[in-house]
């Protein structure tokens, strides 16, 4: 049972992770580990490492950009920030997510569910 649940969750997360990254960055710039910790804590990504290929792809697509800033420890860190295009995509996703969540909810018949 648990395995199946995990499989369903993994499939859904795969589709939304990119937008979760955008959502997280929309509240402020973050460096890699910071972002990884947040997403792992929320259980949105299984491995922290797989975040970096995603970030590289998002950067190539112009959704995020990177800057080197000095962090608290005096070491230069690579900070990721959301671009205007990223904001636009995030808004699109919000609209789609609300719509789909409503539709899924409707067909599943609320929290209790009608058919088992």
């Amino acid at each position: 049972m648990f395995e199946q649940r995990e499989k369903i969750a993994t499939n859904i997360r795969k589709g939304v992770l990119e937008y979760c990254v955008l959502g997280s960055l929309s509240s402020g710039d973050k460096y890699g580990l910071e972002l990884a910790e947040q997403l792992t804590e929320l259980n949105l990504t299984a491995g922290e490492g797989s975040l970096y290929p995603l970030l590289a792809r998002m950067k190539a697509a112009g959704l995020v950009e990177t800057q080197w800033h000095e962090g608290g420890t005096g070491r230069k860190r690579k900070y990721y920030s959301i671009t205007a295009h990223g904001h636009q995509m995030l808004n699109e996703f919000r609209a789609v997510w609300t719509e789909i969540a409503g539709q899924v909810e409707q067909i599943l018949g609320g929290q209790n569910g009608e058919g088992n």
Partner: protein, 320 residues
């Protein structure tokens, strides 16, 4: 035997990741490995143990997997597929052409000592036994097929294979020398173009840069034969309208090519093809010059048709 799962050390982890990403464009590969290395440094500073860090990263395969998938997808993209197919066909046609021409070219065959010299005759076999003639033709054709094969191979195998095939063709051209080797030059160029198309490590930026270089070099190179024709006209050593037509053609090809006009690429391709055919039919004094000039026109034209348009296709997919 029980399988022992051990957490790799940080160094092992990075080395493994770097190795897994060996088919990925160099810049992306370095960036990813550097990102992960920084992640590890950052984690260490925050007091995490190496073991914790590596475990949290997830295994190196799962980190590399999406990148590799993307690179393979790009290799399977419609333009890439089309380019491989076109080059495969070009390789077969040029290979076949080379095989037939070299089989029927009496003097060069004799020069290569591929048969008894006293058995010269009017027939295409020059009196050799049919089996000898057929096997010779087969050997020549097999070179073309060898080059073309990489067009239908799986991308990762195709890369090393096509480079090897191109090297073999180059050796064939060098060994056969100026006589017979000349006819295998188109096959050789096609082989190197296939080696290029199968190179998935080449990123879009790098391809753009290369296209720009080829465009400039090609534009200048396409002008050279017509400058020779101009010299001929001025010195009075060539007569008739032919040279004038060729000068105009060369000029149109060259300027159009530099401006990346589609028609100029087609024009160069067709002019090249015609020059090559002319060289074979005419077998005149300047046969080698026409033949090699034709090869140049044809392949610069082909390169433009395959790659210059690809740039536009890539930029539109990014915009979508």
């Amino acid at each position: 035997m029980a399988k022992v799962i051990e957490t790799p050390s940080v160094e092992e982890y990075l080395r493994e990741l770097n190795h897994l990403l060996r088919h990925v464009p160099v810049q992306l590969r370095h960036e990813l490995v550097a990102d992960i290395a920084e992640h590890i440094d950052e984690g260490r500073e925050q007091g995490r143990s190496d073991r914790e860090i590596v475990t949290a990263l997830g295994n190196a395969e799962s980190v590399a997997a999406p990148v590799l998938e993307e690179v393979l997808l790009r290799g399977a993209a419609p333009t890439m597929k089309r380019n491989r197919r076109v080059l495969g066909i070009v390789a077969i046609v040029t290979g076949l052409f080379a095989a037939i021409v070299s089989r029927s070219s009496d003097s060069t065959v004799i020069n290569m000592t591929f048969g008894p010299t006293e058995m010269q005759g009017a027939s295409i076999n020059y009196g050799y036994s049919d089996i000898f003639a057929a096997s010779q033709l087969l050997i020549f054709i097999s070179l073309g097929l060898m080059v073309a094969a990489s067009a239908v191979m799986r991308p990762r195998i195709a890369r090393s294979y096509s480079v090897a095939a191109a090297v073999v063709m180059t050796v064939v051209v060098i060994i056969c020398g100026t006589g017979l080797g000349m006819f295998f030059v188109p096959s050789m160029v096609a082989a190197w173009l296939l080696a290029g198309v199968n190179n998935l490590k080449m990123g879009a930026d790098q391809r753009d840069r290369r296209s720009r270089t080829v465009r400039i070099v090609g534009g200048i190179a396409l002008l050279l034969p017509s400058s020779l024709a101009v010299a001929g006209i001025l010195s009075g050593s060539v007569l008739g309208v032919g040279p004038y037509i060729f000068v105009a053609l060369g000029l149109a090809c060259s300027v159009g090519y530099l401006k990346s006009f589609r028609f100029a690429q087609w024009l160069a391709c067709i002019t090249g093809g015609l020059l090559m055919v002319m060289a074979i039919i005419d077998q005149g004094m300047l046969m080698a010059a026409f033949w090699l000039g034709g090869i140049m026109y044809f392949f610069f034209g082909l390169y433009g048709l395959l790659w210059f348009s690809d740039r536009r296709a890539v930029s539109t997919t990014v915009l979508q």
